[in-house]
């Protein structure tokens, strides 16, 4: 398809969704807008005021969006709970190790903070918490202690696998939340972004501490990742 332009094409800045080339004719502007379905703005303003930031049109969240966010908070809460108990299990076995003990302790402290934040959010937003809490606690402890008993590399491999799944999961949530334009949801996105970055730091830490030298590394990683994905699926619903 040949695009005929009536003026120079200015570069599109990816940081602001409202910026569009100024001198495109209206038909081509319409084409570009169709690529971004979440922009619901009148066409005339693009050609005139594409540089000025638009005032936020605040609309209340729909029931579906509220349910979606509630499910996200529920599964994140369950996830941080599981992570806490995994580190607890690991510390029970490896706590006295001079090299790995402080590392696991530090990661556990960060997870404790994450859990506290989600506890407060669940209470403030009146979200139903996960019904399988005792199960996540027992399963997390068993996983942490079990892999730690296989050795410190296995414990690190477990951390790596879990943090990989959590990182992907937080990214999926961020993608979903980007579709909702609301100031409170923006705050939630910032929180999830910060926690995702910290989880990925844990992943890096685990790899730095010889996670890949764990016994049966591919099998262990695959099993743990599948288990985590199943847990995420269940915790979203129950």
């Amino acid at each position: 398809m040949i695009l005929t332009l009536h003026g120079p094409l200015l570069p599109i800045r990816s940081s602001t969704m409202s910026a569009l080339p100024m001198r495109l004719p209206i038909s081509q502007t319409r084409q570009l807008i169709r690529l971004q379905p979440c922009c619901a703005r009148s066409l005339s303003t693009f050609s005139e005021h594409s540089e000025t930031p638009r005032p936020r049109v605040k609309r209340p969240l729909t029931e579906k969006e509220k349910d979606l966010i509630a499910a996200m908070l529920r599964v994140d809460h369950a996830g941080e709970l599981g992570a806490n108990w995994i580190y607890k299990g690991q510390m029970a076995v490896l706590g006295k190790d001079p090299k790995v003990g402080p590392v696991v302790q530090h990661m556990w402290d960060q997870e404790k903070f994450h859990l506290k934040v989600f506890d407060d959010m669940i209470a403030a937003n009146r979200v139903r918490p996960t019904a399988l809490r005792p199960f996540w606690e027992v399963a997390g402890y068993a996983l942490g202690a079990g892999t730690a008993l296989l050795g410190k590399e296995a414990a690190m491999a477990c951390t790596e696998a879990v943090e990989t799944v959590i990182g992907e999961h937080y990214n999926d949530q961020l993608r979903e939340l980007l579709k909702i334009d609301h100031p409170e949801v923006d705050k939630l996105r910032e929180v999830i972004k910060q926690f995702r970055d910290e989880e990925l730091e844990h992943l890096d830490t685990a790899v730095d501490h010889e996670a890949k030298k764990a016994p049966v590394y591919p099998g262990l990683t695959a099993v743990i990742q599948q288990g985590c994905k199943a847990a995420i699926w269940i915790a979203t619903r129950i």
Partner: protein
Amino acid sequence: MLAIRRSATRALGRAPVSIVATSHIPHAVTCRVHRIQTVRHNSSGPDATSKRAAISYDVNLQNEEQAVSSQTDVTATHILEASLKHVPQHGWTVQALGAGASDLGYPSVLHGLFPRGGVDLIDYFLKKSKREMKAEMEKLDLESMKITAKIRTACITRLKLTGPYISRWPEALALMGQPQNVPMSLGNLGELVDDMWYLAGDRSVDMNWYSKRTLLAGVYTSTELYMTQDRSPDFEETWKFLDRRLQDVAFIGRTASEVTNYLQFGVRSAFGILSSFGHKTPFNR
């Protein structure tokens, strides 16, 4: 290139997908690692926590104005409201809805707005009573009251709202018990006990959330059932019944630890039986 991807990532919150190439691992188990090169790379230092950026963790979606209803919803709500005063005469039926529509000047055939008939009227009544109970409770000084007192007041406030319709309430309960209506009735009951506990100050996020609501749901429904056959003036006997039920459950101290005790008892009994058959257990090494 990496710099552009990093800044794009931070702006849009998406992680670039990179396939980790590992020669000895079969393709099926290669994990997709979403890695973000963060600026601060001191992953194992103890002061990494203090470098956490100052953001607001106070996300609250509760103080929200409701979404704007359509004109159909507004009309439907007016008809439901007008139909409530016909319930003592017609029961929870389409006749009550038709009479309500006529009161407002609409043709009585407008009961067709409600495909479930009387059940929609019950649903409206339950939601409306829940809102009214909440409004009444918020006028009180909840900080100074004890938890059981708050629950008692909430239950009494809510039950008094059923008072004018109590002669027809057994029919409503029968309708609510039908299988196709059970999601509606349980959903409304769940929201009611959740609101009552929230007003009483419960902010638990663990199994206590479930146990408290389950117990209160039991207390509330049994009291409501008692109320349907109570003929005492101003339902005095019902409030006494409610007090007895609240004493039975005694919310102070009733926690999920009881479930743990029960499980522990079971485990110890099982091990006791095993050891009497001669097996070694953690309790008799």
